[in-house]
Amino acid sequence: MVELRSDALVLRSRDWREADRQITLLTRDAGKVTVLARGVKKSKSKFAALVEPLTLGRYLLHRGKAMDILIQGEIVKPYFSLHQDLLHYATAQYFCELVERSLPNNEPAVAIFILLVAALEILEKDANPARVARCFELSLIDELGFCPALEGCFYCGQQSGPYYFDFAHGAIVCGQCPRSQDSILISGAAVAVMKRFLKQGFHRLAICSVSATVNGEIGRVCAGVFRTSLGLAEIKSRSFLASIEKI
């Protein structure tokens, strides 16, 4: 019997038949896996809390052909505080959806596991979830191999903004050089913050001030990269997040 024992985070959890749940785990050692958790909806099940979304745990799985089966596990951290504030919860869900949809099944992705756990840790403490979200988006784009070119204009090297972010090249272009139809205006300030996020990640993020305008600009660039490079046009939890930012 092939087993997998790994730390993992529950990205998603769905009802499956009456008493079971089907969960998507991001494991440290085997990447994204789909797991059947039998009987966890019965009130006496010890595993009910273990299969809740946003739970970090240690899992023992029996590796199946179509799906893995949960044998046992223990909770490492249930990320309580992320369930207790709507904006933090929606942001965390958004991270999980991005990861779930951008990774293939059963391909090790240690760096992304570490990135996601770090993002949730920072999110728990940060009063500004939008800032954490932009930093996470850029770091994820970088890890997936689509790091944008931000060192001056793609053609002439021009060092001062404003620029256009051209999705055809995944790079910034100045106002004088040609650009494709699929490009948006971006300020020099936003480019500077993006470079900082890419270089330092979550390190000392709390002292990095990001205005709402700059945050919006970076958000639009990342959404465009997800759309063009990863084929993620509509991200459901992103729309929900946007709707609650308004109330």
Binding site: R14, E18, P53, L86, Y89, Y94
Partner: protein
């Protein structure tokens, strides 16, 4: 198939029921064949009848056989107390306790953005319309004690609070008759959090 076509069709139909595999479906099918004809007809009619006659209460979203359900029709219920639940089955569960004397509002699910279930997919607009009139003094949020249920409660609290309503959440606790040492850590810490004066 080894069975005559009519029997095979019954077996196939039973397999659509939750928790029924091919073996059980076969057993049920043969049991039905052994019953007197009238009983089989009564059984089939009862199912079709329930399917045709059951609708949702226009006011609260509960199962009903008329425009409004038995709770909404009952004038002795506390008209100023509203309990929000995910599913009509939750109404039945709460009714069995005979503890709650107010009215209900059934959402039809819980918010799960990653699965594409947002406020617009649930009966939240109807809830706002109902509570906007000012006839309720308290709204009890009785969504499930899991991540989606919790998020749904947070969302509703956020949109109802500005209306000046008292919004409460049912307590999270340990199952009666259970053992402390077998409870998972999340349930235990929630129960500890919700402790009260003795």
């Amino acid at each position: 198939m080894f069975y005559p076509e009519p029997i095979a069709r019954v077996i196939e139909a039973f397999q659509k029921l939750p928790g029924v595999g091919p073996k059980t479906a076969q057993r049920l099918a043969f049991f039905v064949l052994s019953l007197p004809r009238e009983e089989v007809v009564a059984m089939a009619r009862a199912m079709v009848n329930a399917r045709d006659k059951t609708r949702y209460c226009q006011s609260c979203g509960n199962f009903s056989d008329a425009e409004t359900c038995f709770v909404c029709r009952d004038s002795r219920r506390d008209q100023s107390l509203l309990c929000v639940v995910q599913d009509p089955r939750d109404v039945l569960a709460l009714e069995r306790t005979r503890e709650f004397k107010g009215l209900y509002h059934v959402l039809g699910g819980a918010i799960s953005p990653i699965d594409g279930v947002g406020p617009d997919q649930l009966r939240i607009r109807e809830l706002l319309a109902r509570t906007g009139g000012g006839s309720f003094r308290e709204v009890v949020l009785a969504t499930n004690p899991n991540v989606e249920g919790e998020a749904t409660a947070l969302y509703i609290a956020r949109i109802l609070k500005p209306l000046g309503l008292r919004v409460t959440r049912i307590a999270h606790g340990l199952p009666v008759g259970g053992d402390l040492e077998y409870a998972d850590e999340v349930t235990l810490s929630r129960a500890m959090e919700g402790r009260r004066e003795f």
